[in-house]
């Protein structure tokens, strides 16, 4: 056997050995992952009914869940958090209380300063979904996290708190040039804050940033804020920001209040911005009774409102 043959043989042996090792590791990883998934599924099946009995008993023994360790402990937190998102009222509060007693909320607060972005995102998610008391300052600071995913999770989570104090930190995201979070997420979060946020949003209609003014006007329209019709009408007369004026008219059009038709009628005549005037006129026409000649009023705007409303309101499946 020549040296060349020997080298060839050795190379072949190394290649085959490497290939076998790769196959072995892949097969092992596949079965290990599958086994782990099966273990988690079996554990979830075991723990889920136990958690649900909490919702049935008048005075459940929460201490049963306090001494758990390892995977089982994490599974309890995961399942409780998943259930919290589907519940409201006393049952939801009971699960939040359980997580608090288990120390999960305190752990989440500490994990917000973790070096690992997935850990921070997970913590933000938990604090938001539980609506943990005092969570707002933590979530507000996560709106400026260096990681984009964490910022987006924080934006979604902060909306779930339904705390009007979140309005300012959310709108501030739109006031900067770099736009750390997509605008539609901010709008959706503001919409989820709901009617308690209306006074804050009205206050932001005069913000120096055009993006903030426009977003506040749009959300007020989607919230159907009747008390915002007058300040929106003022914005609709704004000569400095035509886009905000048009958004303000569209917002008034969405608000189904006693002053809506009169305000639109006035804007259709008085507004110096042609697009705003046209939009107001279309709103007036749609609110007019059907014409005697059988001509139908245009309902296209309603379809737009419905589709945007669906987009904003869709949140939890």
């Amino acid at each position: 056997m020549s040296n060349f043959d020997l080298i060839l043989l050795l190379t072949l042996v190394v290649l085959v050995g490497t290939l076998l090792a790769v196959i072995g590791v892949t097969v092992f990883h596949h079965f290990w992952t599958r086994r782990r998934i099966q273990q988690r599924a079996a554990l979830a099946e075991e723990i889920r009914p136990q958690l649900m009995t909490l919702l049935l008993e008048d005075e459940p023994d929460l201490s049963l869940f306090e001494t758990e360790q390892g995977l089982r402990s994490r599974m309890i937190d995961d399942l409780a958090e998943a259930l919290i998102g589907k519940l409201r009222g006393a049952d939801r509060e009971r699960l939040v209380h359980l997580l608090d007693r288990r120390g999960a909320l305190e752990r989440a607060r500490l994990q917000l300063s973790s070096r690992r972005a997935p850990v921070r995102a997970r913590a933000v998610q938990l604090l938001g979904s539980t609506g943990a008391p005092g969570a707002l300052p933590f979530l507000a600071s996560s709106l400026h996290d260096p990681n984009r995913t964490v910022r987006e999770v924080a934006t979604r989570s902060i909306g779930r708190l339904a705390d009007p104090a979140a309005t300012g930190p959310l709108l501030a995201l739109l006031a900067t040039e770099d736009r750390p979070v997509p605008e539609h997420l901010v709008r959706m979060a503001l919409f989820r804050l709901g009617r308690p946020a209306i006074p804050e949003l009205i206050g932001e209609l005069g913000h120096r940033s055009p993006a903030v003014r426009r977003c506040a006007a749009d959300v007020l329209g989607h919230l159907g804020a009747m008390e915002a019709i007058r300040p929106l009408a003022d914005l609709a007369q704004s000569h400095e920001d035509h886009e905000a004026a048009v958004i303000a008219v569209a917002a008034i059009d969405r608000i189904d209040g006693p002053a809506t038709a009169d305000t639109l009628r006035r804007l259709a005549v008085e507004s110096s911005i042609p697009e705003a005037r046209d939009l107001a006129a279309a709103g007036v026409a749609r609110r007019s009774p059907p014409r005697a000649d059988g001509g139908a009023n245009n309902g296209a705007s309603d379809d737009v409102v419905d589709s945007v409303g669906s987009e904003l309101a869709v949140g939890n499946g």
Binding site: K86, D91, A313
Partner: protein
């Protein structure tokens, strides 16, 4: 007293389990299905006391199931409660227009759901008594 039968049709296992546990503890016999087609078949087969129906489901959505229930002579009077994440006013209108007897938005309270289901059942029983007494 006859045992009350409830059919739950929802593709979310957590929701099914929560509703089932609550209803079972209140004395209902609960039958669970994960999609619209199977749910409709169960309603036709079991003639339940009440149906709890999700809207967005695979194979046949809740509104279609509801329309089939209302169009079928044998199932048209069964009380149906829609349990759905669709919270917009137009969705609620569509649900009632399709024949829902009640509408509960997710996230929901299992206690409130049980109260509403009991109310539906009692209303159905009263209607049945009135129908019996008015029959010559």
């Amino acid at each position: 007293m006859n045992r009350q039968v409830a059919v739950i049709v929802d593709d979310d296992p957590d929701i099914r389990a929560m509703v089932a546990m609550k209803l079972t503890s209140a004395g209902y016999t609960v039958h669970e299905e994960v999609d619209g087609e199977a749910g409709l078949a169960a309603v036709r087969q079991l003639d339940p006391t009440v149906v709890i129906l999700d809207w967005m489901m695979p194979r046949m959505n809740g509104l279609e199931v509801l329309q089939h229930i209302r169009n079928d002579e044998s199932t048209r009077d069964i009380p149906v409660l829609l349990l759905t994440a669709r919270a917009q006013d137009d969705a609620i209108e569509r649900g009632f227009a399709a024949g829902a007897d009640d509408y509960v938005v997710k996230p929901f309270s299992p206690r409130e759901l049980l109260t509403r289901i009991d109310a539906l059942r009692l209303r159905g029983e009263r209607r049945a008594v009135v129908a019996d007494t008015s029959t010559p």
